[in-house]
């Protein structure tokens, strides 16, 4: 039971990381109609900036602004130089241009940092574990990720539902041209939203640093899972992204934890492990297929 709870927490932790990515991706799509493949690259840039500063200065606290600022700057630069030209283009051009950005950023990072992965140190004070329940000992850092992720989700909810910017965001995602006609500087709004998405991706990258290897290719790995989240939650819906992130995070983690063991009851150990690993990697895609059969537009978007 404690093992199950631990895996559940791991799933939650993965889920909130996915949410940080999915929220940005779905916001950017919802407001600007842009499919941004390079969102994963911003996550990678944030992770590298964070890991570099943390390693150089031995201070996780300094790593936080570094990752966030660098990610936001890279995101805004991306918007101003490339994405802005793509608003009126079709999805094919958007996919290819952002695919090009992935190639460029991946190679740039390889040139700057080499192919060896970086590892960021845990922040001081969060390195240990605490006993949540009798027998359930859990790393503090992972708990901190969950707390940060949930607070960001709450903050986003307030930002979008209670502030002027949020009102414009909601209006923009309903009818872009109308917002522009009312005299809102929509370009500025686009840049802000893109920068916000980049900031969230950078935050996810920063927090991933101490628990994952910071390396080239980490961005695409999480990007494709994020796509699954966005499809299941419904494109453009932040609420959908939130629930779908948690579902995907938990399902993926539990499958990885329990499937090989289940299969081992029927087959040889090594084969069971290989097949289990494969099938559990496929699990979320199968879940996506099932959701598509029932609700083609995603779970949290009303069918029109």
């Amino acid at each position: 039971m404690t093992l199950f709870l631990e895996q559940l927490l791991n799933g939650l932790q993965f889920g909130v990381m996915l949410f940080l990515m999915a929220a940005g991706l779905t916001l950017i799509f919802g407001i600007m109609g842009i499919i941004n493949l390079a969102h994963g690259s911003i996550y990678m840039v944030g992770a590298y900036a964070g890991a570099l500063v943390i390693t150089e200065t031995d201070s996780f606290l300094l790593g936080i602004p570094a990752a966030l600022v660098v990610a936001a700057i890279v995101g805004i630069l991306m918007e101003v130089t490339v994405i802005r030209r793509l608003y009126r283009r079709d999805h094919l051009d958007q996919v290819l241009a952002t695919f090009a950005i992935i190639l460029i950023l991946n190679q740039a990072i390889t040139i700057l940092f080499g192919r060896q992965p970086l590892f960021a140190a845990m922040p001081a004070g969060l390195g240990g574990s605490i006993e949540l329940l009798p027998g359930l000992i859990y790393p503090v850092y992972r708990l901190a990720i969950i707390v940060v992720g949930l607070s960001v989700a709450a903050g986003l909810y307030l930002l979008i539902n209670r502030t002027r910017i949020g009102m414009l965001v909601r209006a923009g995602s309903t009818n872009r041209d109308m917002v522009r006609a009312l005299g809102v500087d929509i370009r500025m709004l686009y840049t802000i939203v893109f920068g916000l998405g980049a900031l969230l991706a950078g935050l996810a990258g920063l927090m991933a640093g101490p628990i994952l290897a910071v390396q080239v290719g980490m961005g695409e790995q999480i990007l494709i899972t994020t796509f699954v989240v966005v499809v299941i939650g419904g494109v453009g819906s932040i609420k959908g992204a939130f629930y779908a992130s948690l579902i995907i995070g938990v399902v993926d983690t539990l499958l990885r934890a329990y499937l090989p063991g289940l299969l081992r009851q029927f087959m040889v150990g090594s084969e069971a492990d290989a097949l289990g690993a494969g099938v559990s990697s496929m699990g979320i895609y199968l879940l996506m297929a099932l959701v598509l059969l029932a609700r083609p537009k995603g779970l949290f978007v009303a069918d029109s």
Binding site: V82, A97, I102, L103, I111, F227, V231, A274
Partner: protein, 328 residues
């Protein structure tokens, strides 16, 4: 039509003649590597032209076509593995090393894969379609990675290329000519396809699905049929690639491979018959030229791709025409 209607067949024939003459000429020049480069261009050309059926003519942005390419390759590899070991697949399908068996099998299986993936993905459109095709391709990627019996991560070595009647397939040049013959047949079929009623419906769907529905055409079925045909073409290319490299690996299904195929299509020009072949040539030549200069060749590819997408409006073909002072 900037190039006169008469000029086009002549140009195609000239390219064909050059491709036929290539192996002996390359050998005489002491550059036998050119032949295998040309074979790769032909194979990727078939795959990219297949993708172009959905992408260019149908307006469906599939980001998962490497899946069908890889499935085609794995059909050849798995049938060969069972032929070599002697025990049948699933207990009743005998292995094979005959090209005339494995190619149709590869086309069939990748068509089936496209039927399943297409039937699900086409329930959506637009940006979801892109994400979903990508996700399904990734799922198949993980499937093949987990199949330890067939090499898993490392891939599956095919000791000898498939045999074909009267041909010595151990000779690389023969394999090249087989690829060339299949490519010619493929593009001839594709030409018939592009000028068919079916393709007209497809292009109509790209422009306005609602309008086509209004005149009574079942959009979903047409799109699914196009998706399956496109998957079959990619599977054929994958099967040829497995024969050519004597190797099938999960890399064939990697999402970057899907990206590369799309890049080839856009480099050559979306929705044109030979554009993807030209795009494949440009991409592969670019890749080998850049790779000979620097190990960071992808940086160059990325920058060029970005330039092409942002500024050319219609790929290399259109750019060349515009530079020549004509509007595409």
């Amino acid at each position: 039509m900037p190039i006169s209607k008469l000029g086009r067949p002549f140009f195609a024939l000239a390219v064909l003649a050059a491709l036929i003459a290539l192996p002996p000429v390359a050998d005489a020049m002491g550059q036998p590597a050119l032949t295998s480069m040309a074979a790769r261009i032909l194979i990727y050309g078939i795959a990219a032209a297949s993708l172009n059926i959905v992408l260019g003519y149908g307006g469906m942005v599939s980001f998962g076509h490497a899946a069908f390419f890889g499935v085609g390759g794995y059909v050849v590899g798995i049938l060969y593995a069972h032929h070599a070991s002697g025990d049948p697949l699933f207990g009743f399908i005998p292995g094979s090393n005959q090209l005339l068996v494995t190619l149709p099998a590869a086309i069939l299986v990748s068509g089936l894969a496209a039927l399943v993936i297409g039937a699900l993905s086409l329930r959506t459109s637009g940006v979801q379609f892109i994400m979903i095709t990508l996700a399904f391709a990734q799922m198949l990627f993980f499937l093949f990675v987990s199949l330890k019996t067939y090499g898993g991560d490392d891939g599956l070595i095919i000791r000898r290329a498939n045999e074909a009647p009267w041909l010595n397939m151990r000779d690389k040049q023969t394999v090249y000519y087989v690829c060339l013959a299949i490519a010619v047949a493929f593009f001839a079929l594709l030409w018939r396809f592009v000028n068919s009623r079916f393709a007209n419906v497809l292009m109509g769907l790209r422009q306005s699905e609602r309008r086509m529905a209004a005149i009574g055409l079942p959009a979903y079925r047409y799109k699914l049929a196009a998706f399956v045909i496109s998957g079959m073409g990619a599977g054929l290319a994958g099967a040829l690639m497995a024969n050519f490299l004597r190797f099938a690996s999960p890399d064939m299904l990697h999402w970057t491979k899907s990206g590369e195929l799309m890049v080839m299509v856009i480099l050559g020009g979306v929705g044109t018959l030979f554009g993807p072949l030209a795009g494949a040539a440009v991409y592969i030549i670019l890749e080998s030229v850049l790779a000979s200069w620097t190990e960071y060749w992808q940086l160059g590819v990325g920058i060029i791709l970005l330039f092409v997408v942002l500024y050319t409006h219609g790929g290399v073909q259109a750019l060349a025409l515009r530079l020549a002072g004509r509007r595409p």
